[in-house]
C-alpha cells in the first residue's frame, strides 16, 4: 500500500525547549486503520494536528502523498483545496467543531465549499443524516444536542465532503455504550468503503476492536513502538512503561484491599 503520510524526524514544540513531540518517524498507508495510542499529554492530539496541517513541524519533514506539507505550501489555493478536501478531522470536542447555526447547515457547509450544486449537496446531507440517524435533528441548533448527537453531527459534517482520510481524535470518549457501538461500527464500514482511518485514543479496547496497526507514544513524546495490535497489546511492560495500564487498589469480599495491574479489558491479573 502506498504511503499517504510520511513523517521524518518530525518534532513540535509549543515553547522553546518544551517538546510536545520529538523525533517522530512514521508512515501511514492508504486504506489502513492506524491507532495512535498514548497516555494523557503524550502528544496524540498534537500529532493529529500536524497531520491535518493545522500546525507545522518545528523540525523534521511531513509529506502528504509525496508533497511536503508546510505553511507556505498550504497558501497555494489549489494545493490547499486538494489537501483539505482529502482529510476529514473529527475533533474530540464536538462543541468546538460545530460552528454553523443548525445541523443541516453543518451538513451542507462542506459540499457548498466544494461548489457542489444545491441538489447534490442536499442529497448528500440527507443520505448522511439517514446513515447517522440524525434526520430528526436537521433543524435543531447544534448547541441543543446531547454529547452523542453532537458527535454524530460532527462526523456527518465531515462525511458529506467524502474525504479519503478520516482522522478521529478520541472518537468514543465520554459517549454512552450505544453511541460508542454505533461509532465503532461506522468506522468499520467507512474503512471497508476504502477510507483510511487514523484514530487517537488511550482506550486499549478500541485498539482491540479494530485489530489495527498501532503506533504507541511514550511520555517522552516520541513513538515508542509501532506494530500490529497483538504485538502491542501483548507487551505488558511496554503498556506499563507508556502509562497505558497501571496498578489500581482493589477490594475483595473479605474486605482485603490490595493493588494489582488492571486494564479495562486486557486482563485482570492478580499479583499477591
Amino acid at each position: 500500500m502506498p504511503d499517504i503520510f510520511n513523517l521524518q524526524e518530525v518534532g513540535y514544540s509549543y515553547m522553546p525547549n518544551n517538546y510536545a513531540l520529538t523525533d517522530i518517524n512514521l508512515a501511514i498507508h492508504e486504506g489502513e486503520i492506524l491507532s495512535i495510542i498514548g497516555a494523557n499529554g503524550s502528544g496524540k492530539s498534537t500529532l493529529l494536528h500536524l497531520l491535518c496541517g493545522l500546525i507545522h513541524p518545528t523540525h523534521g519533514s511531513l509529506y502528504f502523498r509525496g508533497d511536503m506539507i508546510t505553511e507556505k505550501a498550504l497558501k497555494n489555493a489549489a494545493f490547499n483545496k486538494k489537501f483539505r478536501s482529502s482529510i476529514g478531522f473529527i475533533f474530540q470536542n464536538s462543541d468546538a467543531q460545530l460552528f454553523c447555526p443548525t445541523v443541516m447547515d453543518e451538513l451542507l457547509f462542506g459540499s457548498f465549499q466544494l461548489g457542489y450544486p444545491k441538489e447534490n449537496a442536499l442529497s448528500r446531507a440527507n443520505d448522511v443524516a439517514d446513515m447517522l440517524n440524525i434526520s430528526e435533528l436537521k433543524d435543531r441548533p447544534t448547541y441543543m444536542l446531547s454529547g452523542g448527537e453532537k458527535k454524530r453531527v460532527a462526523i456527518g459534517a465531515v462525511l458529506t465532503t467524502n474525504p479519503d482520510i478520516l482522522i478521529f481524535d478520541e472518537p468514543v470518549s465520554g459517549l454512552d455504550p450505544k453511541t460508542r457501538s454505533f461509532i465503532i461500527e461506522l468506522i468499520f464500514q467507512l474503512n471497508q468503503a476504502g477510507k483510511t482511518i487514523i484514530i487517537s485514543t488511550h482506550h486499549l479496547e478500541l485498539v482491540d476492536h479494530f485489530r489495527s496497526r498501532v503506533a504507541i507514544l511514550s511520555e517522552n513524546h516520541t513513538i515508542e513502538k509501532t506494530g500490529t495490535c497483538d504485538e502491542i497489546l501483548s507487551d505488558t511492560d511496554l503498556l506499563i512503561r507508556t502509562n497505558l495500564i497501571g496498578e489500581y487498589p482493589h477490594k475483595h469480599d473479605d474486605n482485603m484491599v490490595h493493588k494489582h495491574l488492571f486494564s479495562d479489558f486486557l486482563f485482570h491479573q492478580h499479583r499477591h
Binding site: 509549543y14 491535518c52 489549489a78 490547499n80 465549499q113 461548489g115 459534517a157 467524502n162
Partner: protein, 309 residues
C-alpha cells in the same frame, strides 16, 4: 447503510483553484485570540526561569513595581529617567527575559501613547522656549478665535525636553510592568495583591476571569482549526462574518453556562461572599537584599531629581 457517494473517490479538479483565501481576516483575529494561550504559557515559563527577579518573593516584586511606577511619574528630568531605564534594562538581562518581547511592546507603546500624543507640545504654539528648528514662517502673526498663531512656528528646546520626558516615562512604566509580570506567576501577583489588602472578592473575580479567558481562548483556537479544516477558499466574506457571529453567540452561551456552573460549585463548597488566599512563606535573605538595593536606587533617583530640579 453507507450512502453510495461515500463508496467512490471524489474527482474534483483543484488545479485551476486561484480564489484568494477569504479567511485571512479571520485567520489574524482568531490567531491573535488563541495566542493568549501561548502568551500565558510563556509567562509561566519565564516566571520559572532561574533569573534574579524570579528568585525574589512576589510581594517584594509587586511593591517594587508600584514604587517604581510612582517614582517614574514623580521624576521630572531626563537623566533620572535614563537611570530608571538602565535599572529596568539590567534587571531584565539578569532575569534572563527575552529583551525583544519586552522592549518591542514598551517602545511601541512609548511611540504611540507617548511620542505621537505629545509631539505637538514640542512646538512653540504650546510650549514657549528657545527655538531649535524653524518649521514654518508666515508673513504676519495670526489671531484665530482665542488662539494666537505666531509668525514663526518652531520646535523649542523646552518642548522637545517635555516630549522626550513623557515618552521615556511611558516606556519605563510599561517596561517595568511587563518585566514584573514576566517574572511573576499570575497566581503570585494575585496573592501579593491579597497581602496588600486588595479585597479578596475582587481578586477572586480577577482570577476567575483570567482562567475563563484561558478556557475561552482554547475554544476559539479549536473553532479556528475546525473552520480551517473545512474552508476551501469558497464562500463570501459575508458568509464568513455570519459564521463568526454565530460562534460569538455560541461562546456567549457557553460563557453563561460556565458562569452558572462556577457559581453553583462555589455555593456547593460553602461560599458566603468572603474569600481569602493561602498565606505566603516568610521573606528570604535575597528578598531583604533586594529591598535594600531597591531603597538605595529609589533614594538615589529622588536625590538626582531634586538636584537637577
Amino acid at each position: 447503510m453507507i450512502p453510495p457517494f461515500l463508496l467512490h473517490k471524489e474527482n474534483f479538479n483543484s488545479e485551476n483553484e486561484t480564489v484568494k483565501h477569504k479567511l485571512s481576516f479571520i485567520d489574524h483575529t482568531m490567531k491573535n485570540v488563541a495566542s493568549f494561550i501561548t502568551t500565558s504559557f510563556l509567562q509561566y515559563y519565564t516566571s520559572k526561569k532561574g533569573g534574579l527577579l524570579q528568585a525574589v518573593d512576589a510581594r517584594v516584586k509587586v511593591a517594587f513595581m508600584i514604587s517604581l511606577a510612582v517614582i517614574i511619574n514623580l521624576t521630572q528630568n531626563i537623566p533620572a529617567q535614563g537611570i530608571l531605564f538602565l535599572v529596568i534594562f539590567i534587571l531584565s538581562v539578569s532575569s534572563k527575559i527575552n529583551l525583544l518581547s519586552i522592549y518591542k511592546k514598551a517602545l511601541l507603546t512609548g511611540f504611540f501613547f507617548g511620542f505621537l500624543v505629545f509631539v505637538p507640545a514640542c512646538l512653540n504654539l504650546f510650549t514657549k522656549g528657545h527655538p531649535i528648528v524653524t518649521l514654518f514662517s508666515f508673513s504676519n502673526e495670526h489671531q484665530w478665535w482665542i488662539y494666537k498663531i505666531p509668525k514663526d512656528i518652531y520646535i523649542t528646546r523646552e518642548g522637545l525636553n517635555l516630549v522626550s520626558r513623557l515618552t521615556i516615562k511611558v516606556i519605563n512604566s510599561v517596561s517595568i510592568v511587563l518585566l514584573i509580570t514576566a517574572t511573576t506567576t499570575f497566581e503570585g501577583i494575585i496573592k501579593s495583591l491579597s497581602w496588600f489588602k486588595v479585597p479578596g472578592i475582587f481578586l477572586l473575580t480577577l482570577t476567575m476571569s483570567y482562567k475563563y479567558i484561558f478556557v475561552l481562548s482554547t475554544t476559539v483556537e479549536e473553532t479556528y482549526f475546525s473552520l480551517k479544516m473545512r474552508w476551501w477558499n469558497r464562500g463570501s466574506v459575508i458568509e464568513a462574518e455570519n459564521l463568526i457571529a454565530g460562534r460569538i453567540a455560541y461562546l456567549f452561551k457557553k460563557s453563561w453556562e460556565r458562569y452558572e456552573l462556577s457559581y453553583q460549585s462555589m455555593i456547593a463548597r460553602g461560599f458566603d461572599g468572603t474569600f481569602s488566599f493561602y498565606n505566603f512563606d516568610r521573606l528570604k535573605r535575597i528578598d531583604f537584599a533586594f529591598i535594600c538595593i531597591s531603597i538605595f536606587i529609589i533614594s538615589s533617583i529622588l536625590i538626582l531629581n531634586f538636584y537637577y530640579a
